[in-house]
């Protein structure tokens, strides 16, 4: 197995249904003989899973026989939900987490203030209804918000666009 393929099997500690590569957290895997340098980027500044992610990648590579493993952090460009792959989005939806839409494109000038719930095209991951409501902008982790679906009357989580 190539180093890239090994790293591609490592899943996210908070969202074990998707891999770190599918989330866009893995930015580069560089293999040089039996040495590997993996570059990762945090989703949010305070992501408490970074240590765990670093350790999981290093452990997977060592178990696959790579002796020299280095996991580096890169901060720029800042992570965006646009980097989540199609397969990652499908797996999130299958697990009941509505995947993010396109990250907000910003016009020139100050960042707009939002005083009312943003119009959203978030579909219910259970029944597919397009009419869903925001409950709270922050969920169990920084990357998710809470929504509900009036059609099937179920609450669900949505990965926020950033």
């Amino acid at each position: 197995m190539t180093a890239q393929a090994v790293v591609g099997t490592v899943t996210d500690p908070e969202l074990p249904m998707v891999t770190l590569a599918e989330l866009g957290i893995v930015r580069e895997v560089r293999q040089d003989g039996d040495g590997v340098v993996v570059t990762i980027t945090p989703t949010y500044s305070g992501c408490p899973a970074m240590e765990s992610i670093r350790a999981d990648i290093a452990t997977a590579l060592r178990r696959a026989g790579f002796a020299q493993v280095e996991v580096r952090t890169v901060l720029a460009p800042a992570w965006t939900t646009d980097w989540i792959s199609e397969s990652g989005r499908r797996k999130l939806a299958e697990a009941g987490i509505a995947p993010p839409g396109a990250a907000p494109r910003r016009a020139a000038g100050p960042i707009p203030l939002t005083l009312t719930p943003r119009p959203s095209a978030v579909r219910c991951p259970r029944c597919g209804s397009a009419e869903t409501e925001a409950v709270a902008a922050f969920g169990a982790t920084a990357c998710r918000e809470l929504r509900r679906c009036p059609a099937c009357r179920e609450p669900f989580e949505h990965m926020k666009e950033i």
Partner: protein, 292 residues
Amino acid sequence: MAFDDTARPASSAPETTAYGALTDHEDDARWAYGTGFTDPLHGVPAEIPDGIDRADLAAFCLALGDDALIMSHRLQQWVTRAPELEDELALANIGLDLLGQARLLLTRAGEAEGAGRDEDDLAYRREPHEFRNVRLAELADADFAHLVARLLVFSTWRLALFDRLTSAADPVLAAIAAKGVKEMTYHRDYAAQWVVRLGDGTAVSHERMVAAITAVVPFIGELFQDDAVFFQGDGVRAEFDTVFAQVLTAATIDVPVIPAGPPGARDGHTAALTEILAEMQELARAVPGGSW
């Protein structure tokens, strides 16, 4: 945050205990006693580019890091006290974002200073008079209205400032700012929506929201006094004034006149900071270099 378990006695080797699977040494990072929280800038090039004044960069990162650290601690104190579970989650998440910013900024401040201090040295081993946070960050909140008023002012100011720092000469500071902008857009919206909901709510909620804004206003002037160091925050004040007025107008609250801040921005603190640090630093001071 440098905990490690390398000193674990041999008798607890995985194969000799009933909990062997839990103590699989390769998997220690999952456990509180073995997380070995390391430098949050691990692997990010630490050098300071030519042409940047290291002392200025260190002072600036320290000030912004202290703001985030102290504000985060105040937000954490709301956990278990928020009016609804959803707000508790929101405040914990906002506090976590700010704590992440603090770790990155304090680490960068230590690198720029070049005296070998890391984030722990700066967070846990400084006295109150050495902290550079603005007074706004340390104020105790008398009620939830005070909290959202303070968070509105803090996040509106910091978002405008960070937006301009995304083009800072130091690439690490610029990268920290770019991440922070995305996070604080949500923080500001959260606080603004609550200010509107309470201000434009019942007679009682309106009255209490007005009282909270009135209490916070004297601490706004300080925010705009020290932007001459390292970086010119052109337009930060104008953006703050525009957004603050927009929120208060929607909340049916009169826009107050903001007095100038006290002389010597970031030089003074209220007694509240001593109380915060006594709590935050207690364990680190009781067990210097503690290892779990």
